[in-house]
């Protein structure tokens, strides 16, 4: 269970970490953030945690402000000194509301609530891990070549030579030397299925890109990323704010 703590008072954050260590030793605290500013930076660069502990009034503003920038879907346990914001917290995904100083019993109850919620709504993380590591998945062979039809002939293309697959009525295959072919497959999902996910990235609904083809990328203030591909005819590829952290982890291995 990956946990993120947003709390402006360092000492109070330390105490919460100590309590979590006692009560939920399986919890891994990814980070402790003290301001809206640093939290915003964090969510731009990282995938969501499993559980978020969050104070409301921070040293530089109100933590609710984050919801204006990010579509945060993970469950949140709010912690505050005085309960006047309770109603508001449940409009976002607040699953519980703790008052400071945090009572151990209350924290245990909040974590049970989180576990119950997780059980009902999603596949437990450990099961997911089992599935990912399943021999059938592990031993899966990815294709090295893709056969495309061109002028009544079948042409084998090395997948390592592919810059990008993109959907525009049909699926185009663009190679590093600038050639463009039409794939036989009807959906990008079918293509994605035969590609090695360490080499290719689904950049959105319309594109799958080869890692080797990425020349550079840059972010903007909204958290989106823009990729420049080596093939000069291709426009910049946009990566959504939600997908940006996933992309960053994929590219930086």
């Amino acid at each position: 269970m990956k946990v993120l703590i947003v709390e402006d008072e360092i000492l109070i954050a330390e105490q919460l970490q100590r309590m979590l260590k006692d009560i939920a030793p399986q919890a891994e605290v990814l980070d402790v953030l003290h301001s809206v500013k640093t939290a915003r930076r964090w969510f731009m660069q990282n995938a969501e945690p499993d559980l978020l502990f969050m104070d409301i009034q921070l040293s530089d503003g109100i933590s609710f402000d984050l919801f204006n920038y990010f579509d945060i879907k993970c469950p949140i346990i709010f912690a505050t000194a005085y309960d006047e914001y309770a109603i508001k917290t449940f409009k976002v995904n607040g699953i519980d509301y703790l008052l400071k100083p945090i009572d151990e019993e209350d924290l245990i109850r909040a974590l049970e609530k989180f576990k119950a919620l997780k059980k009902n709504t999603q596949i437990p993380a450990d099961l997911l891990q089992t599935l990912v590591n399943h021999p059938a998945q592990k031993g899966k062979m990815y294709k090295e070549k893709l056969i495309v039809q061109h002028r009544n002939a079948s042409i084998p293309i090395n997948l390592s030579d592919v810059t990008v697959f993109y959907l525009d009525q049909v699926i185009y295959v663009v190679t590093n030397d600038g050639q463009k072919y039409i794939a036989e497959q009807n959906t990008l999902d079918e293509i994605e299925d035969i590609l090695n996910p360490t080499d290719f990235f689904r950049a959105g609904r319309r594109q799958i890109i080869n890692q080797q083809a990425i020349e550079s990328y840059k972010g903007d203030t909204s958290g989106k990323l823009f990729l420049k591909l080596r093939s000069t005819q291709m426009p910049e590829v946009e990566i959504s704010r939600e997908k940006a952290p996933v992309f960053k982890r994929w590219i930086d291995r």
Binding site: D60, Y82, E84, K100
Partner: protein, 212 residues
């Protein structure tokens, strides 16, 4: 009565016109006392302080004991000065040092309080807990981030006490206590021919209190 130079204060808690005639002394003083109590017993201050204390009990017992005695002194001062119209500035300064220490333990490098008061001024008088209202006001409305600290200075120039802070406003959720500074201004009209003066620039917020 033109010393209230700017009504768009950092807290927007200022009256447009100081009302000296409309309110009688008894009501005004009980207003201020009430506000002191309300702000001192501000539940956020109390419960955040207790949460800090809890953490210190685990991590640094000596500091926990110091923090506890400062918290005790702060509350005792508020309670014992409830019925006192004026106190010596030196007593108020000792109190505000405790209060500032409590805040600094919590905010770390995000807050600096610099006090520089002349010996002569220390013998003058002031309405008790006024400084607490002003310092709390500053921390409530401004960013207290170690990367951009809030700096509050308390100085004296002759018979004036000057409390100044850099302005870096933050969004706040706490309900406004619009009456605090207003009651304070009103109260001062009973003690001093000189009014409280408030000056705001884009960078700073300054309150000038006449010493009595």
């Amino acid at each position: 009565m033109e010393s209230l130079t700017n009504t768009s204060s950092q807290s927007n808690e200022l009256p447009a016109v100081p009302a000296s005639d409309a309110t009688d002394y008894g009501n005004t003083i009980s207003d201020v006392k009430y506000q002191n109590l309300v702000s001192q017993l501000n539940p956020h201050f109390l419960f955040n302080s207790l949460a800090t204390l809890e953490s210190l009990i685990y991590s640094d017992q000596r500091l926990a004991v110091k923090f506890l005695s400062q918290l005790t002194r702060v509350y005792r001062y508020i309670l014992t000065t409830r019925t006192t119209p004026l106190v010596k500035l030196s007593a108020e300064i000792n109190f505000i040092k405790d209060y500032a220490d409590l805040l600094q333990t919590r905010f770390g490098k995000g807050l600096q309080v610099i006090i520089n008061v002349s010996a002569k001024a220390n013998e003058k008088q002031i309405v008790p807990a006024v400084l607490q209202i002003l310092v709390e006001n500053a921390t409530r409305h401004n960013i207290t981030d170690p990367e951009s600290p809030l700096i509050v200075t308390i100085n004296t120039i002759e018979d004036q006490l000057i409390i100044e802070n850099n302005l870096q406003k933050k969004q706040i959720l706490e309900p406004q206590r619009k009456e605090a500074l207003k009651s304070l201004c009103n109260l001062y009209t009973y003690f001093s021919p000189v009014c409280i003066e408030i000056q705001e620039t884009p960078e700073t917020f300054k309150v000038i209190l006449p010493l009595i």
